[in-house]
Symmetry: C2
Subunit: 390 residues, 2 copies
């Protein structure tokens, strides 16, 4: 298959590209390097330096003999997107190419608008370019479980069958996201569903949980093939941040009570889920939603798990409850369905003590250059933040 990975320089995009290339597919990665620019502006960096995408593509060729084609372009530039799709003529487009951080989007007006314009316009451009260049291609779009919020009823996969006043309909699941970033993903989902309805686009919306993990089989093959691992308060996800805090002997920063429950998955399962979606495409005109996570935990549960892993490694790890910088319920019902990917054959890598111990060891070995200031959540949902409000 011809597979185009948008956001191929990212934490998940690069391992996905190697996975498909290794399996013999014709892979193109595209990126604008916007995330690297945002890192520079915020003065933050991944745990270990990540070679340029150019360098990693060349290393992949040298190490495996396989070619990943690289293109540089911004999804908000329509001519660039049309040209990219005309050239790549993909069978599947895996779309990670968005601003991926809730705290980033909550800094101020500029960042909120930038996030929504970047994500919504980029996805609109992809949809129009697909109609033009590859109307039969399958769009595999990364969304987030955060689109749903924390409703008091079970979360289903994209749709909810409602009976009301004696009549019934199956409707898009009502979403209540909790940041301008999460809102951008809800906007995307609505736009993509509409494109499926009117143009017959094939689309799978992967409402992904919180990803953790350092490595996949392919990143482990050579340090020059590594992917980015963020521990900071902007791009770092909670388990990854806890692992870095544990390795430093810094307290694990629990936001508020820590009763916030979310779905989680191992980075290797992100790649596996995307593979399953690509190889089992949506039908023409189908807008399909998969909830992409393998286990549910509360933040406090996770802190205790990482604390125990620390103890096993001889690290004294404390917990610290910070004032919650976010606006979110800290105690709530949470039960989210996630059977569609399991039905397609997903075999999860669960968060075992063994996997925690291995991740902690890797992180500990790399934690010499950590800037502890980047662990503190300085961006507040109710106002204030890292920059002036403009």
């Amino acid at each position: 298959m011809r597979i185009l990975i948008l956001g191929g320089d990212g934490y998940l995009g690069w391992p996905t590209a190697m996975h498909f290339s290794d399996a013999g597919h014709e892979v193109t990665v595209a990126d604008s390097f916007a995330k690297r620019k945002w890192e520079v502006e915020l003065g933050i960096a991944p745990l270990a330096p990540v070679p340029s995408l150019h360098h990693r593509v060349r290393s992949w060729k040298r190490i495996t003999g396989k070619t990943i084609t690289m293109r540089v372009g911004d999804l908000t530039n329509a001519r660039s997107v049309y040209g990219l799709l005309e050239e790549a003529r993909p069978d599947a487009i895996v779309h990670y190419g968005e601003q991926p951080s809730a705290p980033y989007s909550m800094q101020n007006r500029t960042a909120a608008v930038e996030t929504q314009v970047n994500n919504v316009v980029g996805t609109l451009n992809v949809l129009f370019a697909m109609r033009h260049a590859c109307p039969d291609a399958h769009l595999v779009k990364l969304g987030t479980m955060g689109e749903y919020g924390t409703p008091n009823i079970d979360i289903e996969e994209g749709y909810l069958t409602v009976t009301h006043n004696g009549r019934s309909d199956t409707m898009l699941y009502p979403k209540k996201p909790a940041s301008f970033y999460h809102l951008s993903k809800v906007h995307d989902s609505h736009n993509i569903e509409f494109a499926c309805r009117i143009w017959g686009v094939r689309a799978t919306d992967l409402n992904q949980g919180v990803v953790y993990g350092v490595d996949t089989d392919h990143t482990l093959r050579d340090p020059l093939l590594r992917t980015s691992f963020h521990y900071d308060h902007v791009f770092g996800t909670v388990i990854n941040r806890f692992l870095v805090q544990a390795s430093l002997g810094a307290p694990l920063s629990v936001y508020g009570k820590g009763g916030q429950t979310r779905g989680f998955l191992d980075i290797r399962d992100t790649v596996q889920c995307v593979d399953l979606a690509v190889h089992n495409p949506a039908a023409a005109g189908e807008f399909r939603v998969f909830n992409q996570f393998t286990e549910q935990y509360s933040v406090l549960d996770l802190a205790h798990r990482v604390q125990a892993a620390g103890a096993r490694a001889g690290l004294a790890v404390q917990l610290e409850h910070l004032d919650n910088p976010r606006a979110e319920a800290e105690e709530h019902y949470y039960n989210a369905s996630h059977s569609h990917l399991a039905d397609l054959g997903l075999v999860p890598h669960l968060l075992t003590d063994d996997s925690l111990d291995r991740m902690l060891a890797v992180v500990h070995a790399q934690s010499g250059g950590v800037d502890r200031a980047d662990l503190a959540p300085t961006i507040k949902w109710k106002g204030g933040g890292a920059r002036v409000q403009v």
Copy 2:
């Protein structure tokens, strides 16, 4: 009260501004004149020439002695919006300032992106500027009944109480809009609800039906106070277009079977509803949704009503079923709640034979300059349109 009308040059904005000014409020109108630019680009014009907003504000002063303050600015320009709100310090902001046409948004990629960026960024800027300049002000935002689509269950006012697997929650009503324009309004609604939740903004989202009518009491006071009346396929709403077709002896253009049922209201009731919302503000942090229409009709019912009005006026009016340019159900269940505004005291102007006869007479008298080419729906939802697809 200090009342700021965004989009004050428009079909509804200008009559709203006169209404509040006449009632003794301190009114500021702001507009970027974007809609006049879009008209120029499309080569379309209202039925009768509309004086500039500058001229109308001066005429209003001359005729009534009352001052409406005018400011020119674009809501997508954040500095302009912040400055406007700092200067006007409004108690209520009535926000009509968006690209208002579904067909406009469906022309091509450029128009779809322009519509979503203009509407979403404009509203985000208003929300951030409110937080900065007037956090206790009440945002009265014009949405559309088209956000809901045509679900197989009753449409409620913004929220739906759902029981699922033995648990219950009151959730945002799931929406399924049918154009990139309608999608932009859904995006706005989600963004505004979030701002209410995190910052305590007061907001009323008016999900308005299809407006018809030529005049309000204030526009009738002088031809220099008139508002725009569009009959074209881009900005003309269905009853207004039918009235122009009837006055020309042209067939009434029914899209498809005409079973499409929608909510409708008289332009005088738009003004009345906005008045009721402004004088009964949402609470701090409340995101309130009113369905703003007074009657439900199918397109075919309306065509027959206008045909009968034509007969009473001595005009032989035919019906013509065109291939539907839109992607929409032409036979469907439709039952939308609209009790909140009635509970606040709305006394509707219903679509009587008398009101139809009076509107037809006014339109007939002004129809000498109609360009019949502008009646044909050349913009197709499934592709193609007035311009090249870019």
